[in-house]
Symmetry: C2
Subunit: 238 residues, 2 copies
Amino acid sequence: MVNWFSRTGKRAEVPRLRPRSETEPATKVDLAELTPDLLTFLGKAAYLQLTIFENLGRAMAVAPTTEAKEVLSRVAALSLAKHHGLTAEIRRHGEEPGAVMEPFTRSIDDFQRVTQGGDWFEELLACHITAGFLDDFFVHLAAGLPTDYAGRVTTVLRADSGAELLADELRREIEADDKLDSRLAMWGRRLVGDTMLVARATLAPSANSVSDEARIEPVFTELIAAHTRRMDGLGLTA
Amino acid sequence: MVNWFSRTGKRAEVPRLRPRSETEPATKVDLAELTPDLLTFLGKAAYLQLTIFENLGRAMAVAPTTEAKEVLSRVAALSLAKHHGLTAEIRRHGEEPGAVMEPFTRSIDDFQRVTQGGDWFEELLACHITAGFLDDFFVHLAAGLPTDYAGRVTTVLRADSGAELLADELRREIEADDKLDSRLAMWGRRLVGDTMLVARATLAPSANSVSDEARIEPVFTELIAAHTRRMDGLGLTA
């Protein structure tokens, strides 16, 4: 199996996956033992969600039609509700969301910078791909939270994020412009690479041991398979 | 009384108002007879609200602290809820929000351009001042909608828009920087001028007759008095 996080310094490449039946593990894998402490989890998840919301706002501002703008506003509302679902858990724990998110803003702002699309199409794909991957990732990671938090947080993360609305917009654009698919396929590969890196950085520090790698790899294989299905759904090669 | 909309081409100036007791009319004034048809009202109000939300998103992206960003995200959620409350009324009427807003996007996009702040402080004031004025204005105008819509739309418009959260942020900034108040006072005057123009453009076309002017002026005097109180609340000269 490929090591997604080899330290040779090479950019992570997204490979062609084997057929789904071979890659999906029979038993549910999880990252519970690599879940960071509650506030780190919530701070990172909440700030990433805020970043996704900001990106949706930026995409909305450059939407080519009023209809598209309106669709984006609905996705933005779902995204913001998710962010506030996570900050509500921070408050429930007696902390202020701003202070809890603060330590993670720098690296996540960097993530936002590198995943910022050059135009409407790229912005739209960035919103779809990063949000999809991160929701899946944090659901896995939430399994390691204290039980009561785990349940509520998973409910927040699994709530509708408007993925189908974004996918519909993207499909429409891709069908209307036959040069778009190869450009967006390329952009999708960059996006998933950077999203994997930011996700990986959320794992508890002990995550570098050999046994931890063995735990991480099947989860990321599953997350990448979901990413591939997301790209397939748009008619794009992952 | 000053004519706010004289056609001499001069920029509308915001005068020092006389003391409130003299300017506020004893009876509630309204613009009901100048209310445009339902879909024009909803299309303009909804698109202006979307613009306010976009501006909040832009302000959020340049917020100087994570705490401020978090506050802005809460205001943005309230603003977006208001927008969706208005688009829900458009759908209730059997229309698609995108199509109904479309005819008004160009002039409102122009309004957005001229009221776009040059930095965080100006963005923040722009969000506060334009949203406050327009909420008040559309509440007046809603009196002329068909009764069932009037009730629901007024409830949407009167919902919390996070004005106190924005005012708290602004007060904090103004207290921390003693050069800020004169710059923002100036900016506030420009904002209210442009906001009056976009509000005025929402009135039904017959609004140019002399008797209509007589109806409009007291309402705008009231709206400007509210604006002055808003500026006072920040320690700024209107």
